[in-house]
């Protein structure tokens, strides 16, 4: 297990190093680094100072060294627009994105599990077929367009819910959250639903498959034989067992949800990391772009590491084949 972990960690570090090289070359080598990293409105003296400070007059391999050292110290440059450290701005936007991502995973379970259980318990009924067709649609619908349609229906046509923003927030441990106020919840619902759509379809399929498989098991037959009610068998005996894979898969999907939040946040003006990166790309605020890319790659390497570890616990064969290589 330790060997497996160490190998995975080394791989992760290599990936981050490779990624930092790609980002470095992309930003420094393709464009003119002076234009990219120094505010174009700065005076010539400030520019000269910055060039010396950033080491832009040095050869490329030395510059990469400087870039790495500064990145390791958490210094990824200052934003042109806000004139604050890029990393600080991104970390400040992170809680909003995480709140949205977690809310959408919760919604995926709240909608997906009951629908999937119905479709799994009565696999041939017309409403089950309707649910399954709906889940196919959930996979095919372009999510940004669904977001717009949610705004058209709920915000503009019916005027039930706000179309954007975070609403009223409450601080918990210094982090502002929306889900504790009624106004915040109203703002959270549409974007979370939009982001959850794909996952709802996924959960429906997982639950249905799990339900159909579990109901064939001997312990379910035994529970019926004991004379337990259908309700108890389905909701206690079967439910617990189908819940495990669903929760695992959804946990592993957290990374994808955070990546896709870019789209949802833009539509619903949700002030998270995704909206920040899109705004920064449009405003050419390059230090934020670099910082976002580095941070996201780091986050994904960590998530993938956790996924591998989780899988190696669930399925020891993964660990063993790794060892053999």
């Amino acid at each position: 297990m330790t060997l497996f972990l160490v190998r995975r960690l080394i791989q992760g570090v290599l990936i981050i190093a490779a990624m930092s090289l790609i980002v470095f070359l992309g930003v420094y080598a393709i464009g003119n680094p002076v234009e990219i990293l120094i505010n174009p409105d700065a005076t010539p003296e400030i520019k000269q100072q910055a060039i010396e400070k950033l080491g832009l007059d040095k050869p490329v391999h030395e510059q990469y060294g400087y870039f790495l050292v500064r990145a390791l110290q958490g210094d990824l440059g200052n934003s042109f627009i806000y004139d604050e450290p890029a990393l600080k701005l991104i970390l400040a936007a992170m809680p909003a994105t995480l709140e949205l991502a977690i809310a959408s995973l919760v919604l995926a379970m709240v909608f997906g599990i009951p629908l999937g259980m119905v479709a799994g318990y009565w696999p041939d009924a017309w409403f089950s077929k309707l649910i399954m067709s709906g889940s196919i649609l959930g996979f095919s619908l372009p999510s940004f367009w669904v977001g717009l349609m949610l705004i058209v229906l709920f915000a503009v046509h019916w005027g039930l819910l706000p179309s954007g923003g975070r609403g009223e927030t409450v601080p918990i441990l210094g982090i502002e959250v929306s889900f504790l106020t009624w106004d915040g919840l109203k703002h959270l619902f549409l974007p979370a639903l939009n982001l959850a759509l794909f996952k709802i379809a996924l959960v429906i399929r997982l639950t249905r498959a799990g339900m159909r498989e579990t109901l064939q098991q001997d312990y379910i037959k035994f529970a019926y034989a004991k004379g337990l009610s259908v309700r108890r068998v389905v909701f206690v005996h079967a439910f617990r067992n189908i819940l495990i894979p669903i929760v695992t898969v959804l946990g592993l999907e957290l990374g994808t949800v955070i990546a896709f939040a870019v789209v949802t946040e833009t539509i619903f003006s949700w002030p998270g990391m995704g909206k920040l990166i899109i705004d920064s790309i449009n405003l050419l605020d390059r230090p934020i772009i670099v910082a976002y890319l580095m941070l996201t790659v780091l986050m994904f390497v960590v998530i993938n590491l956790l996924v591998d570890i989780t899988y190696s616990f669930i399925d020891p064969r993964v660990r063993l084949t790794e060892m053999d290589e």
């Binding site: 367009w145 058209v152 503009v156 990546a259």
Partner: protein, 309 residues
Amino acid sequence: MSLVDEDTPTAAPQPPIRKEQTGFAKFAADYAESPTAVIALISCVLILLAAIFAPYVTPQDPYDLANLDLMDSRLEPGEVGMTGMVHWLGTDGQGRDLFSAIIYGLRISLGVGVVAGVVALTVGTIVGLTAAFFGGRVDTIIMRLVEFQLSFPAILIALIMLAVLGQGVDKIIIALVAVQWAYFARTVRSAALVERRREYIDAARCLGLSRSRIMFGHLMPNCIAPLIVVATVQVANAIALEATLSFLGLGMPVTQPSLGLLIANGFEYVLSGRYWISTYPGIALLITIVSINLVGDRIRDVLNPRLDT
């Protein structure tokens, strides 16, 4: 007629009709068993024809400024414009007939999706065949790269590519190819690994054929079936991803208004209740993606009889 008849003139009874059909006729007959898939195929063909012959099927060239009248802007669906033309789907902010804009947008979206799909198919096939054919260390390195890439969400990779490369039609095609080649490589490799052990490959090797001839002349044609399925699905994915990126303002430039860009243009009017500018291009996008996916699904089912049960 056929070799069988010459060899056995006394002739056993003919095999059932189904088996006498050529490969394609059987495939077509199997495909037609699902009415949904037939409708999806018809819809794909219609969409393709509309996109190719856009200037002939649209009432207006939406990008010829001489045709546009700002007085016609933001007309509701069904309203009659200044020239007496009925705008069945309404007009956009510049007074363009939305139906015409959608057909022209389809042309751009499909074009980008198909070009990206074909390039990714080519790259992925070459890489996948190389991995399977040479095996060993080459295979390990290539498959590590594929696995690594597939562990990142497509939208994130495209976002990184576009943030580094900048905007433009060529850039978005590069980004789409970068996202998709791995799927093709994985599919080709697993098909080629099976085919590689077949006797005809040994035979070709014994004949002293060159490696590239064996790879592309013998191995590749036998790996095509699963590739067709992946290719259809990936074209649909490319169209959806391009639309998403264009909507975010990272994709197509304003001079190339794909469906995603049309939807983005309608975004600013959504809050004032002018829903149609975003809604109808989205429905066109949805029909395109669902049709292509249904066709791909059906082809997979027909080619994989095991899934019938």
